[in-house]
Amino acid sequence: MKRVYVNEKWCLGCRLCEYYCAFAGTNETDMARALKGCKINPKINIEEKDGVSFAVSCRHCLEPLCVKGCITGAMTVDGGVITINGERCVSCYTCILSCPYGAVSPSDGGAVQKCELCVKTAGGVPVCVKGCPNGAIVFEERG
């Protein structure tokens, strides 16, 4: 299955991936209109220290602890992509606590949010990958 992988060697820490991610979630057509004056809450986040930076988002683990821990069945694995059903989520945050990568976070809409590989927003082509200016985020099949 194709996943999002990051290569810190080429990450510039420009954080454009965060903004493209936040934009994709708005269903707007113009980024300026969508994000003007907003504090963004993206599903991908840049970690940065001492000149090293890289993007962190859901790894779509083969044995996902978040799905295992979900008490309502809101988190499911759908064709390898770990997805959230916001209707079912009760915001107990068990998934947030159990994710070893910190890839699940509270969403502005009440439930939790995580990267769903843009399946719901951009037709399955992750916008962080498309928007990265230096090829530091890739979407590919790895063994």
């Binding site: 080429w10 420009c14 954080r15 454009l16 903004y19 934009f23 300026a32 994000l35 928007g131």
Partner: protein, 501 residues
Amino acid sequence: MAVNFVYPEYEAVRNPDRCIACRACERQCANGAHEYLADADKMVCDDAKCVNCHRCVALCPTRALKIVRSGNTYKENFNWNAKTVDELYKQAGSGGVLLSGMGNPCDYPVYFDKILLNASQVTNPSIDPLREPMETRVFLGAKPQTVERDENGRLKNNLPPQLSLSMPVMFSAMSYGSLSYNAHESLARAAEEMGVLYNTGEGGLHENFYRYGANTIVQVASGRFGVHPHYLNSGAAIEIKMGQGAKPGIGGHLPGTKIVGDISRTRMIPEGSDAISPAPHHDIYSIEDLRQLVYSLKEASGFKKPVIVKIAAVHNVAAIASGIARSGADIIAIDGFRGGTGAAPTRMRDHVGIPIELALAGVDKRLRDEGIRDSVSIVVGGSIRSSADIVKAIALGADCAYIGTGALLALGCHLCRTCYAGKCNWGIATQIPELVKRLNPDLGHKRLVNLLTAWRHEIKEMMGGMGINSIESLKGNRLMLRGVGLNEKELGILGIKHAGE
């Protein structure tokens, strides 16, 4: 400073309706021009720090930024124009020689833009390159003057070493040191993929790039940095750099701050020491001396590699080229006055040398008149900007073109002309690791490959239009060219007729 004599020439204009304060511009500007004001939640720009490299413009996700002329003007004066006045102010303040990067930007004639190509109609049908074979391969090197046979009457192979290129383009000499590691890797990989050559420049060859040797020209210049027997034998050809179009008559100076780590090792000089290339080669004061170096290098490489001699296009270039052709060199590279550089004194860059079109036409004619045109190939550089320039150069008599600035543009360069500052925001002309990583060779080499692929298509289209199916038939074919708006003298030097004739 109490008195600011020079007002910024350009300013970054931010559209407040489109700026979402993502701060990408701030993070990407190595000059610190952009700043986020947290209390006002808005971005501001100090135009005095901006070098107009367009990194922020290109990365702004909402197109909120553009850079425009600031429009501040002195009282209009055609003699003392703003550039002249600003430069004088700067020198009165600093007492120093003015430095510039990239090629001559001044308003001199661009002869390529005053030459038009022919196309076939009716009597000599044009060729469709999508349907019929079209040859763009060229071979560079001395061609044998005579047919020789052995005692049994069989043909003897007396062909001197040749370079084989899939198309008549090479990446010109830009050293590792002046360019970043990633820029060099992009050039090397693109050259390999396209079946052309790139040039090390005078900085030696990084150990990781020896594997691209078959697509590498190794340069020997006046400073002899990084030259050793293994280096000489690792490339496809050896180039002796006598001059450079951007700064004819002077040498080079890579500041000690750039001589770090791998660059120091590759150049074989201590870290932090300035790399100063002398203006002349101290062992070359005549064509005979040049011949000695040509043959020393041939000797050192077993007579297996062509030797290129690169000169700047200067006033008596034709006579110099004639001497070089007789020195044993296989290829002459001529660099026009528009040629680029990482750093040159502004006055040299803007006022020394001659246009490559005139130099090329003069050299080709001189060598043909003297009957020695076949003993060398001619490579021209110094602002070849498009495939049309290449086609025109070949019709004027060149065998191949060198592109430097064009290649850097493909890698992202926006011609801000401040390479000498060492803070290239595009990761090209810098050694600062955070900036170097901005040029990912996986993407960079692909853009170079795209550029050459596109140019090759266009060259074939233009040749096909003229009814020519091989680069060889275009070479020196000046009947395919007509001048527009050129005077008799210029037409005479170029050896072409005026349009309508």
